[in-house]
């Protein structure tokens, strides 16, 4: 549906066994076998994907009251979410986050991918591995490391500020906290995105570049007219994944909350809000509604980006 990456089409239309001239008994047996291969996945999928979604849709139609138990309320939870300032506080924060962090991260990833692909780096293999390494680090550990490094006493900012002679970096303040989180997320995923873009660049045949060079195209023209268009599809995928990731923002602020409890509210992101509602507020129905609304907003935005990106592609 929404996240169909561009590469799907050729493979999907590829001729498949069994061909039409085969005897039908064999065809039936073969196609049963095919369904059999997919079945285990589908069963698990139904249990951990479809069932929870269906169950939370069901829950979202009820309301948990301290007195009187659970009550059917139709769509009024949804109406409440849309005018809930706490929900919008978090939702707008992640949108701001994604509007700033995703372009910066992808721009860095693109520059790095182009640089490594250009073959003009000394030790480009080393760069590729070194830049990708953070992806292997668990998000929790990444948030902890940066969390420590941000702190005045354990970390580096204290030393840096001493060196500068004034408060150069203040990661743990209301104004800078989102930037501090953005830095952690960028650190974690720049290499991953770089690798996706780099892999796309690798699919361009070398002859294309040689032909362009013979025609007198310089480095920058080749980048602009051949390389960037070549990675557009991958860039759209990376953007969609990054959008989904931003909307889910949870781990990093949640870990930092362990270090600086007062700075991060219980509705800092929609996910933290849903988590707080179900585990501290005991309002599971409302939490389910928040999760659904957020999921729909995410899917819609991801879908729009996908459509726009693909249109420019053709």
């Amino acid at each position: 549906m929404s996240a169909a990456p561009p590469s799907i089409r050729p493979a999907a239309t590829e001729p498949l066994a069994p061909a039409r001239h085969r005897p039908s008994r064999l065809t039936a047996r073969v196609s049963r076998a095919g369904a059999g291969f997919v079945m285990p996945f589908l069963i698990a999928f139904a249990l951990v994907f479809v069932a929870p979604l269906a169950y939370s849709l069901y829950l979202s139609l009820f309301r948990n009251r301290l007195v009187g138990g659970t009550q059917f309320v139709g769509l009024s939870n949804y109406a409440d979410v849309f005018v809930d300032p706490k929900f919008w506080d978090g939702a707008l924060r992640v949108m701001l986050f994604l509007a700033v962090q995703v372009p910066i991260m992808l721009a860095i990833a693109l520059v790095a991918a182009l640089a490594i692909d250009s073959g003009r780096l000394h030790g480009h293999r080393f760069f590729r591995i070194g830049l990708f390494l953070p992806y292997a680090v668990p998000g929790v550990v990444a948030a902890m490391m940066w969390g420590f490094m941000y702190s005045d006493r354990v970390g580096l900012t204290g030393s840096l500020n001493d060196l500068a002679g004034f408060e150069l970096l203040v990661p743990y303040t209301k104004q800078w906290l989102l930037v501090s989180i953005g830095n952690i997320v960028t650190w974690e995923f720049v290499g991953y995105n770089m690798l996706i873009l780099y892999s796309a660049l690798k699919t361009v045949p070398t002859e294309t570049y040689e032909a362009a060079a013979i025609d007198g195209a310089g480095q920058f023209r080749i980048v602009r007219h051949i390389k960037i268009p070549a990675v557009r599809g991958a860039l759209v995928i990376a953007t969609v994944f990054s959008i989904i990731g931003s909307f889910q923002l949870f781990n990093e602020p949640q870990i930092l909350k362990g270090l600086v409890p007062n700075l991060i509210s219980t509705s800092y992101t929609p996910n933290i809000y849903a988590y707080t509602l179900s585990f501290q507020g005991n309002q599971v129905s409302y939490a389910a509604t928040v999760a659904i609304v957020m999921g729909v907003i995410t899917a819609v935005i991801a879908y729009i980006v996908q459509l726009r990106g693909m249109r420019r592609d053709s």
Binding site: M1, S2, S7, A12, E14, P15, L16, R29, R32, G34, A35, F37, V38, F41, A44, F45, V48, L53, Y55, S56, R120, L121, H122, F127, I129, L131, L133, P134, A136, P138, V140, V141, A142, M144, M145, W146, F148, M149, V154, L156, W187, L195, I196, L197, S199, A200, T203, G233, I244, Q248, F250, G258, N271, A274, Y275, S278, A288, G295, T298, A299
Partner: protein
């Protein structure tokens, strides 16, 4: 542009230095960590982050990590291994069979499966976590290992990667030939196809391993019993305990524990780098 060749371009010092800054940024936290694991708690607070402290407490720290809190760290390590082996292993198995089935067979409902699974890639994992918790608590599955393992079994992205990979790696003629010879589909899968799928399987399992090894949100909501925690959640409890009122911080243990959490996964990545690199280009971004 005389003498310029695309296959052997000139190396550029400027570009190397420029990207060198990015590389420093990438390895900065890891470098900080390597110095920090050699410090005890007081040293951490007083010494400069990117150099050694007064003492060398690495071995002390390692020893303490495994004995602190009744030695629960080894338990967390073991749990993580269980989640990875059963969860990621199972996810790879299901994705491999499913992707192969989708790529190489035509059956009723195939396109529907396809559309649903692709849609599922766009569903935020964490948005699913709270509903899954609500359902699992109805089923009495919360606070058991199954609460972590079952959701890990499904990787729509893995299925997608495997499907794209299988479409290319297993020639349809080969399957038809086996069919003419009278081999059953299952037998063909195990004797012929599986071997051709190995690079894809390694890639999918690698991503599944990273996802389960790094899993935090799901254990956080599903588990109460520290004996079931994976490393990520266990470390967080150490960190959170350390910042509570009247608590004595054990930052040195959190950092050393975090280091021990990273090492296995980084080693796996370095050893298998040939696979994830080729797998990425074969899968998500093939043009």
């Amino acid at each position: 542009m005389t003498g310029y060749s695309y296959s052997r371009p000139r190396r550029s010092i400027t570009l190397t230095v420029l990207l060198g800054f990015l590389l420093i940024y990438s390895v900065l936290p890891l470098t900080w960590m390597l110095f920090s694991i050699t410090k005890d708690q007081p040293d951490l607070l007083t010494s400069f982050g990117l150099w050694f402290g007064d003492g060398f407490a690495l071995f002390d720290n390692l020893g303490q990590v495994f004995t602190y809190d009744g030695g629960i760290f080894s338990r967390w390590f073991f749990n993580t291994l269980v989640y990875v082996v059963v969860g990621a292993g199972g996810a790879t198995l299901l994705a491999t069979a499913g992707g192969y089935g989708l790529a190489k067979y035509r059956f009723r409902g195939r396109n529907a499966v396809f559309a649903v699974v692709l849609g599922a890639i766009a569903v935020p994992g964490t948005a699913l976590a709270v509903p899954t918790f609500l359902l699992f608590s109805q089923l009495g599955l919360t606070n058991t290992m199954w609460a972590i393992i079952l959701p890990s079994l499904v990787s729509p992205f893995g299925l997608y990667l495997m499907w794209v990979f299988a479409a290319e790696a297993v020639p349809t003629e080969l399957l038809e030939a086996a069919r003419v010879d009278g081999a059953s589909e299952l037998r063909t899968f195990f004797t012929i196809s599986l071997r051709l799928l190995v690079p894809g399987i390694v890639t999918v399992s690698l991503f599944a391993i990273v996802a389960t090894w790094n899993n935090y949100f799901l254990p956080l909501i599903m588990l109460n019993d520290p004996d079931l925690f994976p490393l990520t959640l266990g470390l967080y409890t150490w960190l959170a305990d350390a910042t509570g009122v009247g608590a004595s911080p054990v930052f040195h243990l959190v950092i050393t524990g975090a280091f021990l959490t990273i090492v296995p996964i980084v080693v796996v990545f370095l050893v298998l780098q040939r696979y994830w690199q080729s797998g990425l280009s074969a899968g998500s971004v093939k043009q």
